[in-house]
């Protein structure tokens, strides 16, 4: 199952991509009645998604009846109104079902452009001069060390940071809970006393934590490889660009054509421009340290309780900082990746693995990373020392309802 999950994930993405694509490819037919006289055939000509049918000659009332009985998506009505401002407010669209958002916005942009041109004519504005006078500003972003950047890459950075932070949270919870379950299993099956007459409880606990980390990294690796293979296969089978597909609909038609060929390469280039290797290393480092910190807590909880149901009361304080980290990340890092709050939470050891990873794509000074990692690591040492004490006592305690006060007492045994 664990090996299959990336396959399932790929399948889902491919399915979504496939469905989105085929729904875009399906052209909808829209009839129109143009009483205004502003629109020539050229203005309402077929494009990628819409096929236009001119019903002006038969009038609005008849057209309504016809469209209602046909498979056409709807009827666009442009009333007879020579005042463009008023016309703009009185255009109607009749349809059986609610029309798609994309269809409406496409129609709006077509009509808007045409009416704007008309208006300019009325105001004696030379359209060609106006076109020439247009200046398009595109600020090139760069940092002081000279690495170029772009607005698009900011989005990519946010995406990568969020994904990395979120993944760390997920893995900490999943593997931490596995450590806990394994401790509980040894306790409930009563093999624990046999084992710890051969190895020290501390060795057993650390072995469990490190073993699970190794298992996690291996699983990581397998997933990565499968994901990569799956991406290639599915893009081959469906002919879709998985990475870009979900954004396509949001980009206006004209830009899309320009970007269509180069976009995939462009994104790829931008991603390759990021310090990917150091990001990867830091991901592994923060994952390991964060996991070590949290799984020692999980191990202590597992030792303190008799079964998984009892562990619930101790779960909240563990999940809370993780949740806070993700929310802080989503809320502050996007707007201000180097602000006080983001920096503070990327130093607090219980939130730093998540928040810092979200910040890293935006470029974090190395000394901040170093301090945050050091704090994280030494907190781990402190926590594992306390966890070991709880663990040592807890694994031999049966049938006792444990609370925080009780655990505090164990620290002094």
């Amino acid at each position: 199952m664990t090996i299959l999950s990336p396959v399932l994930m790929i399948g889902m993405i491919a399915l979504v991509a496939f469905l989105t694509k085929s729904s875009i490819e399906k052209k909808s037919t829209i009839a129109f009645v143009d009483d205004s006289g502003f629109f020539s055939e050229n203005d309402l000509e077929d494009n990628n998604t819409i096929h236009f049918e001119d019903l002006t000659s038969i009038g609005l009332e008849k057209a309504k009846v016809i469209v209602n009985e046909s498979t056409q998506e709807g009827l666009l009505f442009l009333p007879n109104n020579k005042d463009i401002n008023q016309l703009a407010k009185s255009i109607q669209f009749f349809s059986k079902d609610s029309p798609g958002m994309i269809t409406i916005s496409t129609l709006e942009s077509i009509i808007e452009k045409k009416l704007q041109d008309e208006k300019m004519l009325q105001l004696n504005i030379d359209i060609q001069k106006l076109e020439k006078s247009r200046v398009k500003v595109d600020i090139n972003l760069a940092n002081f060390s000279g690495e170029k950047s772009s607005k698009l890459i900011n989005g990519i950075k946010i995406g990568l940071g969020m994904a990395a932070g979120y993944m760390i949270m997920l893995f900490i919870i999943v593997y931490g809970a596995m450590v806990m379950r394994s401790v509980i299993e040894e306790k409930t099956s009563r093999i624990i006393e046999v084992i710890i007459s051969s190895v020290k409880p501390f060795q057993l606990m650390l072995g469990k934590i490190f073993g699970m980390a190794a298992a996690g990294l291996t699983q990581f690796f397998i997933w990565g490889v499968l994901l990569f293979i799956g991406m290639i296969i599915s893009s081959f089978v469906f002919g879709t660009d998985l990475s870009g597909n979900l954004n396509t609909t949001q980009i206006p038609a004209q830009q899309m054509e320009v970007l269509a060929q180069s976009k995939g390469q462009f994104i790829l280039l931008e991603i390759l421009n990021l310090p990917l290797f150091s990001m990867f290393i830091l991901f592994i480092l923060y994952f390991l340290c964060g996991y070590l910190l949290y799984s020692s807590i999980y191990a202590a909880i597992g030792a303190a309780v008799d079964n998984e149901t009892d562990s619930q009361q101790f779960m909240l304080p563990v999940l809370m900082p993780l949740m806070i980290a993700v929310y802080v990340g989503f809320a502050t890092v996007i707007n201000d990746p180097h602000g006080t709050i983001a920096t503070l939470f990327s130093m607090i050891p219980f939130t730093s693995p998540i928040v810092m990873l979200m910040r890293i794509p935006f470029g974090v000074p190395w000394w901040q990373i170093l301090i945050s990692l050091l704090i994280l690591f030494f907190t781990f040492l402190g926590v594992v020392w306390i966890a070991a004490k709880i663990y040592r006592v807890g694994i031999l305690m049966y049938g006792k309802k444990v609370n925080y006060k009780e655990i505090y007492k164990w620290l002094k045994y």
Partner: protein, 309 residues
Amino acid sequence: MKNLLVAENVVKNFGEFKALDKVSIQVPKESIFGLLGPNGAGKTTLLRIINQITLPDSGQILFDGKKLEPNDIRYIGYLPEERGLYKRMKVGEQVMYLAQLKGLSRSEAKKRINYWFDKFEIGGWWNKKVEELSKGMAQKIQFIITVLHQPKLLIFDEPFSGFDPINVNLIKDEILDLKEKGATIIFSTHRMESVEELCEHIALLDKANKVLEGRLVDIKKQFKTNTFEVGLNVENKTELLQDLRARFIVSPANFKSLEDDLKLNIKLQNNETSSDLINYLNTKASINHYVEVIPSASDIFIRAVNQNH
């Protein structure tokens, strides 16, 4: 070196609760040592300290004359009272894993596992999962795990629980056999008849203190009350009874005999000896039954604990 294991003034507190209060015991080499005591007396805590599962607050444990070290766990085999196995692991793999934890090489472990599996006639269990085993079957596996690395010191906490009488005898014989081969055995149980049968030395813990220790024979001598169980054949029982009551402390006894005789427990006083009693009885009646009452381990247990309270 006479003793394999010596505990010196071991103290262990759990918060306010005193689990062991300056307990010292001496376990002679190649003996079977019974560690007895009521529930909650501190036996398991002491056993855990010997196994280095728990650390004592003060006091020390000497193993073979030297201070107990982490490495010594190789020479100790421990069958805890709360024992279990990984439920979803195969029997063979599991025994192999636990044997390697004790420092055996794979091939050596394999050889010894085969030896024990053959001995217990469970060779076919290698690929069985533990959850398929009955409690008694699992206990056999646990016994094998305990003895597999041929430890100098074996510690059994309630080894017979969960066994039917046939398997109890099987395990008992194995324990005696291990002792013959030079192992020293600490044996903690509430089954007093197996204490009688197996133990040469005992120590009795009660309320965190040691109340008794020594050779079982010596302790029995110490606890005997100079009481004799007699069966007397006489015509006038009431008259004899009155005579005896005048000289000794007499109470009715209960044992099986063929005759309808007077069954009594007679306790001697004032330095009188057994031969005094026999001579006296001979003049009064014919003696069918005459035996000294030796306190059982169970009697000693109860009396010692009651005295301590």
